[in-house]
């Protein structure tokens, strides 16, 4: 019905002279209007997203000075470098571990917040979402200061328990732990909010019926909560997987990839190689390795989002 919007609007106007009418016809035609309205969006996507994406593939086939076509030269060069495989491994460990803990903490905390009655719930929710609201570059600076080698507030506190001092960012294991910790801290509130919204949409009757049938809390979660939230869990997890896998700010500020490149992710390593060492083709090549994983996640998200749309 709404399709007639434009047509009707045109008819409703007083008709002008013949010459102007043809122009007005063109302007008033629905497809023309729709085209004009979406043109800026299409141009933006074509020029600043799609074109750079393909340009990146082209760049990846050039030599460092960008004067010669080398085909897969950059790719084979990367395959031979140990650092590259370390980056692949670290990116996967980082993304999978961080997303898992974000989802877990988000799920647990969402239940606790859901238990809180009324007005107080709003306050708790507001407080717990703060990490997500602060720009990550700013909050990571606070973490950097908390991890400071000589003045670390964590080590100060731990010393009372006879623990430490822990080299938070100086040791490979602890540096990896720290970047994941900061990422979990930043991302868990997002999961919390999504899961809380999903929990509210589960009808209370289901839980009451389960209680009458004598189900314990675990059975309620396993047989009611999880199936009802399945879709939102899938979408949130996949979405977070993309964002975490492509993360830049946290690792860049916290460790810059160190110690000895062991905390580099694709994005930070590509920045170091492509911008700081100005080997643009190699940097482009590194970022391209993110595409397969991102593409798989995107396909699944799209499927789930569409399914969700049909359910609603």
């Amino acid at each position: 019905m709404a399709d007639i919007v434009v047509e009707q609007g045109r008819v409703a106007r007083p008709t002008g002279t013949r010459k102007r009418a043809s122009l007005r016809n063109a302007l008033g035609r629905k497809s023309t209007v729709a085209f004009v309205l979406t043109l800026p969006l299409i141009l933006l996507i074509l020029l600043l997203v799609l074109y750079p994406a393909f340009y990146s593939i082209y760049l990846a086939t050039l030599n460092k000075a960008m004067t010669k076509f080398v085909g897969f030269g950059n790719f084979t060069f990367l395959f031979k470098r140990e650092t590259f495989w370390m980056v692949v491994k670290q990116s996967c460990i980082f993304a999978v571990t961080a997303v898992f803990f974000k989802a877990l903490i988000g799920f647990i905390v969402a239940h606790f917040v859901h238990n809180i009655p009324g007005k107080k719930q709003r306050k708790w929710r507001g407080m717990l979402l703060v990490p997500w609201v602060i720009p990550p570059a700013m909050s990571t600076l606070a973490w950097l200061w908390l991890f400071d080698p000589s003045y670390s507030a964590f080590n100060y506190t731990l010393s009372f328990f006879g623990v430490g001092p822990i080299p938070w960012l100086g040791d490979t294991f602890w540096a990896r732990f720290s970047v994941i910790l900061v990422n979990v801290w930043y991302g868990a509130p997002f999961f919390l909010i999504m899961y809380l919204a999903a929990l509210k949409s589960v009808p209370d009757q289901l839980y009451e019926a389960a209680s009458i049938d004598g189900a314990n809390w675990w059975q309620k979660i396993w047989h009611i909560t999880l199936p009802m939230m399945r879709n939102i869990i899938a979408i949130t997890t996949l979405f977070s997987l993309i964002v975490t896998f492509a993360n830049f700010d946290i690792v860049r500020i916290l460790t810059s990839g160190g110690p000895l490149d062991t905390t580099h992710l694709f994005a930070t390593w590509a920045f170091q190689v492509g911008i700081q060492s100005s080997d643009i083709p190699l940097g482009a090549c590194v970022t391209l390795f993110m595409v397969p994983i991102l593409a798989v996640a995107a396909v699944f998200i799209l499927r789930d989002v569409n399914k969700r749309g049909n359910e609603a």
Partner: protein
């Protein structure tokens, strides 16, 4: 929802359910206990920022109890808020974010209107494409964009690299897809009777958009605006790559690159700067929390 929850925790509707309500009281107590623990985890860094920002350099290097301020001072705030350099960062960030919000709205509202109400050739594909674009992270595109800007600069002679205004063109790639996507959702949820009534009264499509769609979808519009603003304010990678001179930097990049001088970390000032940099999104969040959260959750639902 809230009334329901209160009802549950209420004493007892039936005496038989006494044990159940006792269980719930305990569940509530445990919930509070764990929530306090998680709140400590979530709020430690921002609180620590505040604590450090109130300390003088002397107190920081004296290595007293880091969790307490013995001689609170506002000198860090005074120093930063009177430094032209910091104000320059703040100004750059503000102007970029505001312009990006306007550009984003000008692009995404008409597009969302067309995609939600006019079925035209390719409209479904375009809507899917918009969503997929939203999933493309900045770290995938910064290298080709950098090279593109360099090539255009060489070709036309217009300086693009190391200029803050170029970010105004780049940021919409991050904000427009999401804003369009959630605006499609809000527009599609408007009953068709509403615009049909407008059509019968002789409204043109522009009038329908301005007089009906935008006022009715105002909550969505606010959510999209907040999203666009916070994303542009927080963006770190693009300005780090595209700008280098101190007078062209935005706040996040400016604080991380200029306040750290060599190996000397002036932590009092860094934390003050970080807190001031976090302030605009936090203030917006404090006042418009419901819109903020609506925008957050709308992303995962189909428009």
């Amino acid at each position: 929802m809230s009334t329901l929850a209160i009802d549950k925790a209420g004493p007892s509707r039936k005496v038989k359910l006494g044990s159940m309500s006792r269980d719930r009281t305990w569940a509530l107590r445990w919930s509070y206990f764990f929530l306090v623990l998680f709140a400590i985890f979530f709020l430690t860094p921002p609180v620590y920022m505040l604590i450090t920002s109130l300390k003088s350099s002397a107190e920081i290097s004296a290595a007293t109890n880091p969790w307490w301020v013995f001689h609170p001072t506002l000198s860090n705030y005074v120093e930063l808020l009177t430094s032209n350099q910091f104000l320059r960062f703040f100004w750059n960030s503000s102007i970029i974010s505001i312009v990006v919000v306007i550009v984003t709205m000008l692009i995404s509202i008409p597009a969302a209107f067309a995609l939600a109400r006019m079925k035209f050739w390719g409209s479904a594909t375009l809507a899917t494409g918009v969503f997929l674009t939203y999933l493309i992270p900045d770290s995938l595109l910064f290298i080709p964009l950098f090279k593109m800007l360099a090539v255009i600069q060489d070709f036309t002679g217009i300086t693009l690299l190391n200029r803050w205004y170029v970010l105004v063109f780049i940021y919409p790639t991050l904000t427009v897809p999401f804003c369009t996507w959630i605006m499609i959702g809000y527009f599609a949820s408007i009953p068709k009777e509403l615009d049909e009534a407008a059509i019968i009264d002789g409204a043109s499509w522009l009038q329908t958009l301005l007089r009906i769609f935008i006022p009715v979808a105002l909550p969505g519009l606010i959510a999209a605006t907040i999203f666009a603003f916070t994303v542009s304010w927080a963006q770190f990678l693009y300005p780090l790559v595209f700008t280098t001179s101190i007078d062209q930097l935005v706040l996040p990049v400016g604080i991380t690159t200029t306040l750290i001088k060599g190996d000397v970390f002036n932590w009092g000032q860094i934390m003050t700067g970080a807190l001031l940099g976090a302030a605009p999104p936090l203030i917006i969040y404090a006042f418009l929390m419901d819109y903020y959260i609506a925008g957050l959750t709308a992303g995962a639902t189909k428009g």
